[in-house]
């Protein structure tokens, strides 16, 4: 029971962090059709900015300033990069962000060096929030969940209730008519891209110290974020939310399952010994494959439900 509850909480907090990462990507994709390969790089620079600011000013200012700085970087990227390649189509945009991811990683090397930086959880959030049976549950994870959920609500309200949200939604479907109404559509796109980047930056601010802030962190989460977007359904925010939670549960609980095909065969009276053909495969436990499961899930999803959990469009 203890294990189950703790794992449930762990999967929830991991899932929410994944959602924070993928929500920005999903918003940008659904609104601009741009698949931002460098999205995880914005997550990384969010963490690095937060580290630098927390050295100078402390964690709480960093929580606000770092995402704003990332938003500024994102807007600059949109204005001076994406807008130029937009005319060559979505694949060109994807290529541009792919190159950008390379460049950001090298720039991080340039400024902060090649190993990790000591970006740590602030003392006020360090420690146990509560103890379940005998396991501590850290305050910081509770904080992470709180930030994710308030962000989710914030996005929802912005998109559905605010004027800018309505303009954004209209700009997507009918850019010309919105333009004739006097709105500056390129600027709307720039804001959307900046906002999406800021969300990734925010995830970096609170994920960077929960985990580790190093130049490889972008490459480590990038592919998973794409899996979330594919499984959730390209461009669906609700889908991304469900997919994030699903991946959280999948990755957390698969760790606990030490079953392999060999165990299954044993139930039917076969024993797998080292000479059995493909013995390695049969002896592989589910927990061993845990981190590969997202990709497997993605492939299965593509076979059985290509549009994803909540997807409306197919590719």
């Amino acid at each position: 029971m203890e294990f189950f509850l703790i794992s449930m909480l762990n999967s929830l907090s991991y899932g929410l962090l994944l959602f924070m990462l993928s929500s920005g990507l999903t918003i940008i994709f659904s609104m601009m059709g741009v698949l931002n390969f460098a999205h995880a790089s914005f997550y990384m620079i969010g963490a690095y900015f937060a580290y630098q600011i927390s050295v100078w000013l402390g964690f709480w200012p960093a929580l606000v300033i770092a995402p704003l700085l990332v938003a500024a970087v994102g807007m600059a990227v949109e204005r001076y990069g994406l807008r130029t390649v937009h005319k060559y189509g979505h694949v060109a945009e994807l290529l541009f962000t792919f190159g950008l991811a390379y460049l950001i990683e090298e720039a991080v090397h340039l400024v902060w060096g090649r190993s990790s930086v000591p970006y740590v959880v602030p003392p006020s959030l360090d420690g146990a929030a509560f103890t379940l049976y005998s396991t501590d549950y850290p305050i910081y994870r509770v904080f992470m969940m709180a930030v994710s959920v308030s962000m989710l609500i914030g996005i929802y309200l912005t998109l559905t209730r605010s004027r800018i949200g309505l303009v954004i939604q209209a700009a997507l479907t009918h850019p010309q008519s919105v333009e004739t109404l006097g709105h500056n559509v390129p600027r709307v796109f720039m804001l959307v891209f900046g906002g999406g980047s800021a969300l990734a930056g925010l995830a970096g601010v609170i994920g960077g110290n929960a985990f580790i802030t190093e130049p490889g962190m972008a490459a480590a989460v990038g592919p998973i974020v794409f899996v979330v977007v594919v499984v959730g359904g390209m461009g669906s925010l609700v889908g991304a939310f469900l997919a994030s939670l699903l991946l959280g549960v999948l990755q957390t609980f698969s760790v606990a399952l030490d079953y392999s095909f060999a165990d299954l065969f044993a139930k039917f009276g076969y024993t797998v010994d080292p000479d059995t053909p493909l013995a390695v495969l049969w002896n592989l436990t589910i927990s061993q494959t845990g981190p590969v499961l997202p990709y497997l899930l993605m492939v299965l999803m593509l076979i059985f439900r290509p549009k994803g959990i909540m997807g409306s469009r197919e590719g």
Binding site: F29, L35, G81, T84, V85, Y88, H90, V91, A92, L94, L95, F96, F98, G99, L100, Y102, L103, E106, A107, L110, V111, G113, A219, P223, F226, V227, V229, V230, M234, V280, L281, L284, Q288, T289, P291, V292, P294, Y295, L296, M298, V299, L302, I303, P306, E314, G315
Partner: protein, 423 residues
């Protein structure tokens, strides 16, 4: 009529292929050092790999972030086959061993391709990335087949010795590679001239219309990917003969990313583009990489600039001059080009200085503040060199803009002139 019209082009085509083959054969006689031979062998393998990649990107419009899966698995199968051959389990000539890699590459193309090619565009790109990650992660888990971290080694020198060819000396391997490279280049070129090749273009340009003329776009993409996997597998097989070892990096995201960058920089829209790209790429990696540790930064920057300003790659930059040369209008371009080159050098010098000084500063400012650049020695902790570098960068940028405007203007006039002549 139509036949007559094609004849001169065919002649040119033979000439191009002949010269390419001749250059490849003669090169090692000029550059004899072991290192250059290694690089040239790698370029040979890289050409096959990049051309196979371009079957997807250029011909089929599929942007893949996981193409190394096919070459890597091809390499693993070849290396296992070579080990079995040398054990005497079965007989197969080493010269033809890359075929084994090709078959393996095609086989995995069938397995993974069926799912991934349902879509094109960004969806395909993401899925290819996911498949690449999955295969790479698996490669470290199944160390029986993949050899774990150490990889699988082999020895290409085997008992049989046909006409003195043992593949011991690197030069023999080089000729094996260029032999295969020429055959594969010809085969991939021929593919572009087949119904499937043409329909791959059609599906790239307008998948919907292709469906309404009877073609299943999924099937066209799928078959294209399988064939592309076949050639990638051959490249993998050759690399396993060349290095005599295969490790997991052959399957990794870096290998996939590299071939994408090389292909795009060379020019995905042209058959020969990736060949230029691979050569540029190796120059960056070996020449620039030998001078500075910031080579990845420069490579990334080059790639971004190409995406932004020359999406057709070097090939398009070269080809756009052909009609100008034919029309004898090049003289109008020399002056603006010279201006652009001179200002470009200033800009580049500024950029390189800033980047190199930043690298040096962040790495060892306090222990070793002295550094040398362009033959000048200075101290990175003093202000003057930074001011000079920044001045070069900003000044270079400003004057370059003028030069580029002049280039743009000259081109505008030339295009107008060409249109008038046509009319």
């Amino acid at each position: 009529m139509s036949k007559l019209r094609y004849r001169p082009i065919n002649l040119g085509r033979w000439l191009v292929w002949g010269i390419t083959a001749l250059v490849m054969i003669v090169l090692p006689l000029i550059f004899t050092s072991g290192f250059t031979l290694t690089i040239m062998s790698q370029i040979g393998v890289g050409i096959i790999f990049a051309l196979s990649y371009n079957m997807l990107l250029g011909q089929g419009g599929m942007l893949s972030f996981g193409h190394a899966v096919y070459s890597g698995l091809g390499a693993y199968f070849t290396v296992h086959a070579l080990n079995l051959i040398s054990k005497g389990t079965f007989y197969f000539p080493v010269t033809l061993a890359p075929i084994i890699g090709g078959v393996a590459g095609a086989f995995f193309g069938v397995i993974f391709g069926y799912v991934t090619t349902k879509k094109s565009g960004t969806t395909f790109a993401m899925i290819s990335l996911g498949i690449g990650e999955m295969v790479f992660a698996c490669s470290l888990m199944f160390s029986d087949f993949f050899g774990g971290e150490a990889g699988i080694a082999t020895n290409r020198v085997m008992g049989s010795n046909v006409l003195g060819i043992t593949y011991g000396p690197a030069i023999q391997v080089y000729y094996l590679i260029i032999g295969w490279a020429l055959v594969c280049m010809a085969a991939m070129y021929a593919w572009t001239q087949t119904p499937l090749g043409r329909m791959a273009n059609a599906v790239r340009d307008n998948p919907e219309r292709a469906e309404f003329v009877g073609y299943d776009t999924h099937m066209v993409r799928f078959l294209t990917l399988v064939l592309s996997g076949f050639f990638a597998g051959i490249a993998g097989g050759l690399s396993s003969i060349n290095y005599e070892i295969v490790t997991a990096e052959n399957l990794g995201a870096l290998a996939s990313g590299s071939v994408l960058i090389a292909t795009f920089v060379g020019g995905a829209g042209y058959f020969f583009g990736p060949i230029i790209g691979i050569i540029v790429f190796f120059v960056m990696v070996t020449a620039v990489g030998g001078i500075t540790q910031a080579w990845l930064f420069y490579l990334g920057l080059l790639f971004l600039i190409m995406v932004l300003y020359a999406p057709g790659g070097f090939a398009s930059l070269i080809l756009m001059h052909v009609p100008v040369i034919k029309a004898r209008l090049m003289r109008r371009l020399w002056l603006p080009y010279a201006a652009a080159a001179i200002t470009g050098v200033v800009l580049l010098a500024g950029l390189v200085s800033v980047v190199e000084m930043t690298y040096h500063y962040s790495a060892e400012a306090d222990t070793n503040p002295g550094m040398a650049l362009f033959g000048l020695a200075f101290n990175v902790t003093s202000y003057t060199p930074w001011a000079v570098a920044a001045g070069l960068l900003v000044g270079g940028f400003i004057v370059s803009r003028f030069a580029w405007k002049a280039v743009g203007k000259a081109w505008g006039e030339i295009i107008l002139g060409l249109q008038e002549r046509r009319a």
